[in-house]
């Protein structure tokens, strides 16, 4: 499959990139590793006039750690570098583990942190060839009025399938966006709109340049579980990131964060579960209560390679597994 024609732009600095986007934002797409953008262009889902490649901008591929400020990950850090970074492995095992679960070695060698966080939402009726899509009415995400996944659906249900976002949200991360007008920081959880057709709260002229992850206590428990058809390459079909901080006596949970991914149009923080777990000892009945609540809260629709009922059940199982593992490891 050939790529459609486009003009290639390779800014050498962030300022240069912002200046270009100031005038051409509507017709441009930003490229980091290209592993999400180029397949969509090959399938003619996206036809940007300009592809703005950030790879020539220096210093965006750094991982920096400070004992007080925490971790700063540049947007162009490769997922492969993240999973192998010593400081990330030691201080943020959840991030290293999650990064290692994305795609294949090659895709992680190409794909960037910024790209993984800015992934386009996916749907069985959207990520198809031009020919395939033309056999059905134009869907909402392609600019039409009909949802092919849910009959009578008035909004787009395409799924956010990034792996890193649930984990980084569980850790309370913030992102930095820049444009020619200046810089702004926002919690990563606010980066996702919940609208499958327009999933990111980024303005067309803005560039995501980095993520800040606050300090996490050394004895915090964290884990990421990912369900997919082929363990070697696939996007998640349901995932759970969990971060728990226990008190000194190792029994009572002081802080809980449970985020599910690849179920909704955005990574979903299950705040009711966080509240349920906080200040409690993890008994079997509490674990059952929390995982059953997650089962109720997860509402996948029939737009992926696995049925909604199975994905819902998997969410419950993952949460149960995470909490049981936390009990085992924290005692």
């Amino acid at each position: 499959m050939r790529l459609p024609d486009f003009q290639y732009v390779e800014p050498k600095s962030i300022q240069e990139a912002c200046l270009f986007l100031k005038d051409h934002s509507q017709e441009s797409k930003i490229m980091g590793g290209g592993t999400d953008l180029l397949p969509s262009m090959k399938e003619r889902i996206l036809k940007p006039k300009y592809v703005v490649y950030l790879g020539a901008i220096p210093n965006l591929d750094r991982i920096e750690f400070d004992e007080h400020l925490g971790l700063r990950i540049g947007a162009l850090v490769k997922l492969r570098s993240l999973e192998r970074s010593r400081v990330v492995l030691e201080r943020y095992p959840l991030i290293a583990q999650t990064a290692s679960e994305v795609g294949s070695v090659q895709l992680r060698q190409m794909g960037t942190v910024g790209g993984n966080l800015s992934l386009d939402t996916r749907c069985y009726y959207y990520n198809q060839s031009d020919f395939w899509r033309k056999c059905r009415p134009t869907c909402i995400k392609m600019g039409g009025e009909k949802c092919n996944a849910i009959s009578g659906g008035k909004k787009c249900f395409a799924v956010f399938s990034g792996d890193l976002a649930p984990a980084l949200i569980a850790l309370g991360s913030k992102i930095t966006l820049v444009s020619s007008k200046g810089e702004r920081r926002l919690p990563l959880s606010d980066f996702y709109t919940g609208d499958g057709a327009k999933p990111l709260a980024i303005k067309p002229d803005e560039i995501l340049i980095g993520v800040d992850v606050p300090m996490v206590p050394k004895d915090a428990f964290s884990v990421y579980f990912k369900y997919r058809i082929r363990r070697s390459v696939d996007f998640p079909l349901a995932s759970v990131a969990t971060m728990l901080i226990f008190g000194r006596e190792k029994k009572v949970c002081h802080e809980a964060k449970v985020v599910i991914g690849a179920v909704n149009t955005r990574p979903e923080e299950l705040k009711e579960i966080d509240g349920l777990l906080r200040g409690k000892e993890f008994t079997s009945s509490l674990i059952e209560e929390a995982s059953s609540l997650a089962f109720k809260m997860a509402k996948p629709v029939a737009n992926a390679a696995s049925s909604p009922s199975y994905r819902k059940k998997i969410i419950k199982i993952f949460i149960e597994k995470a909490l049981r593992q936390a009990v085992r490891e924290s005692v």
């Binding site: 180029l38 090659q106 390459v233």
Partner: protein, 151 residues
């Protein structure tokens, strides 16, 4: 004009920005050892090494590879002799149709260059992004492990 470093040779090419590295290797340079299979980043057949790291040439713009060292399967041979990994694949019968072989060998080379004596699990993880539909991986893993101990 774009200058590319491929297997130690320098190529000056007038190419469209939309051309992938895979298309340039196969069509403009004539290095057809790198295979096109899914062309969407799933199968790993088009794997080449970019600065010694395995990447998918079907999802890489050739124009973005300026100043980087590209290694394809053609670059492994030492004179008339096959690279030990290539020889091992032949020896162990780790090839059937051959479409996955170049990518498989380059993923294995990247692994062995970093970790000369990997465990079987490490080998399996390193080639997890290279799909084979014929031999079923057992012989491929055997071939890589044999090459790693110089058999």
């Amino acid at each position: 004009m774009v200058t590319l470093q491929i297997n130690g040779d320098t190529y000056e090419l007038a190419i469209e920005p939309r051309k992938t590295l895979l298309e340039v290797l196969r069509e403009d340079i004539g290095l057809t050892g790198t295979k096109e299979v899914c062309d969407l980043g799933t199968c790993g057949a088009c794997t080449v090494l970019l600065d010694a790291k395995p990447i998918l040439s079907c999802l890489t713009l050739a124009i973005a590879c300026k100043g980087k060292e590209i290694t394809t399967i053609e670059g492994l041979r030492r004179g008339e002799k096959l690279h030990p990994l290539q020889a091992s694949f032949v020896q162990k019968g780790a090839i059937q149709c051959g479409m996955c072989t170049p990518g498989m060998i380059l993923s294995a080379k990247a692994l062995l260059d970093e970790n000369p004596h990997p465990t079987e699990i490490e080998v399996r993880k390193a080639i997890a992004g290279n799909l084979c539909r014929c031999t079923g991986y057992v012989k491929i893993v055997e071939a890589i492990l044999a090459a790693s101990i110089g058999e």
